[in-house]
């Protein structure tokens, strides 16, 4: 569950990135967050990851009160969230298997569990035969699938996808969103940030629009 109450962010250069934003995304929901460049979408994600702290307001993510969560304990919050980014953010020196397994290794998961879980998740995103490949040997769509597998492997309560289709062709974009929808149907909350209105209209559902740091629309479409 994600909850923001009267959250404002003003950067040190005086820019008001978010202004009095209140928002609640319940467990098991799928929500699109749309807005133009500079609307405040990235700031919203940084807040949820505890990369930055709000100037005012309260944020709760997966039961963590971010106001009270210390910076050096941020990993505890991040372990409950799966991330998918526009630029995939894969470690280029690790193959597909190791990129996905890294999440489990970093939480001291048992070796046996890693050996079973990782191939299963990789096959879920359709990359069974690519486990030994390195990111630079994969297409953009395949890299995003690896990122999805990495986001899924720890069975997170929430997946935040930041422009996951930004670098993909329309067909692959649809496949990725369909995969996210499938993950959501299994009970995981998904928050997908995008500026592709076509895609939002195609899939429909809860849509939150941010404009100039304020929520201007929050309703179900389609």
């Amino acid at each position: 569950m994600v909850e923001l109450k009267n959250v404002s962010v003003t950067y040190s250069n005086g820019v008001d990135a978010l202004h009095d934003v209140s928002l609640r995304i319940n467990d098991g929901e799928f929500a699109f967050v749309v807005g133009e460049s500079g609307a405040g979408k990235s700031t919203l994600i940084k807040l949820l990851l505890k990369e930055i702290t709000p100037t005012s307001g309260r944020i709760t993510v997966n039961g963590f009160n971010l106001e009270k969560l210390k910076k050096n304990k941020a990993h505890k919050l991040r372990r409950t969230i799966g991330f998918v980014f526009q630029d995939f953010k894969l470690i280029n020196t690790m193959n597909v298997y190791d990129n996905v397994a890294f999440v489990l290794r970093s939480i001291d998961a048992p070796v046996k569990y890693i050996r079973n879980r990782v191939p299963y998740v990789i096959s879920l995103v359709g990359l069974k035969d690519k486990a030994k490949c390195y990111p630079n040997e994969l297409s953009g769509g395949e890299q995003q699938r690896v990122a999805l597998a990495r986001a899924l492997v720890n069975d997170p309560q929430l997946i935040i996808a930041d422009e996951p289709t930004g670098n993909l062709d329309p067909k692959t974009s649809l496949e990725i969103v369909e995969l996210l929808k499938g993950i959501n149907e299994c009970g995981t909350t998904v928050m997908m940030v995008t500026h592709e209105h076509e895609l939002v209209r195609h899939f429909g559902g809860r849509t939150i629009t941010i404009k100039e740091g304020r929520i201007t629309f929050d309703d179900y479409i389609g």
Binding site: K71, H75, K76, F83, N92, V103, S106, D108, V111, N154
Partner: protein
């Protein structure tokens, strides 16, 4: 942290050395050269100290006794001198022995003819040959000896000793300054190399942080990587130091005349420090490199 995780992180660190081989080689070279410079400077200083100590050990004060000092008085004087602080050794040097040594020393110069003029009477005085423990404290020691009855004169290389002591202090200070400067410069260069090595992986570190890895989990492979490169650089530079030093000593020892004039018996042999060098270099390389690398990751861990 579980043993399996430690095993994974160790392997990851070793793998990173190969994955980032260009930076690994650069770090290795920089560290090895720095250790070589420091090592050779230390060996140079150690040899200089050995030479100066060698000269110091040849110090000898000769106390000439008056003619009227009999055997029992001389024996009492010897005991008194022995009990003076800073006197390491006292030897009675009789006038007969002195004459004998003088004759031996002049064998090739018609000594018999020369000494026939001297006749039966030995003109040389009895004496004590004294070795001083701490040469820097020679003046107060001599003053104390001088208070004894029966002393005719004292011959001591005070001026030479003063110059030597000053030289030793000067060398000590200069070498310390050079060593500190070298260590400082090396540390700056090494930490820059470590920073550059970490810098090209800042994206990797940021991703690891985002997927929930702890700082320790991220740092351990860097630590292992730095440690291993440091040990390798330490061992390589120790080997080069020993081989290079040995060759240098061989070349310099070909003609010992000059060194003999300077009362230098020889250089410190490699066998005297070989293990210290290998262990010291490997430990220094490991510590500098491992901690330098880990410290460089700190900036990127604040995500």
């Amino acid at each position: 942290m579980k043993l399996s995780s430690m095993n994974y992180l160790f392997k990851q660190g070793m793998k990173n050395i190969w994955t980032n081989r260009i930076m690994s080689v650069a770090s290795f070279c920089i560290l090895a050269v720095s250790l070589l410079l420091i090592g050779f400077t230390m060996l140079f200083v150690a040899n200089i100290n050995r030479f100066v100590s060698g000269i110091e050990n040849k110090n000898e004060v000769v106390i000439f006794l008056k003619d009227d000092v009999d055997e029992s008085t001389a024996s009492a004087m010897e005991n008194t001198i022995k009990n003076i602080n800073n006197v390491e050794k006292v030897n009675f040097y009789s006038k007969e022995q002195a004459l004998e040594d003088m004759k031996k020393g002049m064998e090739n110069e018609n000594a018999d003819e020369l000494f026939s003029y001297v006749g039966e009477e030995n003109p040389l005085p009895d004496a004590f040959r004294i070795r001083i423990a701490n040469i820097e404290e020679i003046s107060p020691t001599l003053m104390e000896i001088n208070r004894l009855e029966g002393i005719d004169s004292i011959k001591s290389p005070t001026d030479f000793i003063n110059i030597l002591t000053g030289l030793k202090r000067f060398i000590g200070i200069v070498s310390l300054v050079i060593l500190l400067a070298l260590i400082l410069v090396s540390f700056v260069i090494i930490s820059n190399a470590a920073r550059a090595s970490v810098d090209i992986r800042k994206r990797e570190i940021a991703i690891m942080k985002l997927v929930g890895a702890t700082n320790t989990f991220i740092k351990v492979p860097f630590f292992v990587e730095g440690m291993f490169i440091g040990i390798l650089a330490g061992l390589a530079s120790a080997a080069i130091t020993c081989l290079g030093y040995n060759e240098l000593v061989k070349v310099l020892s070909q003609d010992m005349t000059l060194w003999s004039i300077m009362s230098i018996n020889g250089f410190i042999p490699v066998s005297e420090f070989i293990w210290k060098i290998f262990i010291g270099y490997a430990a220094a390389g490991m510590i500098i490199s491992a901690f330098g690398t880990v410290m460089s990751t700190r900036k990127y861990l604040k995500v």
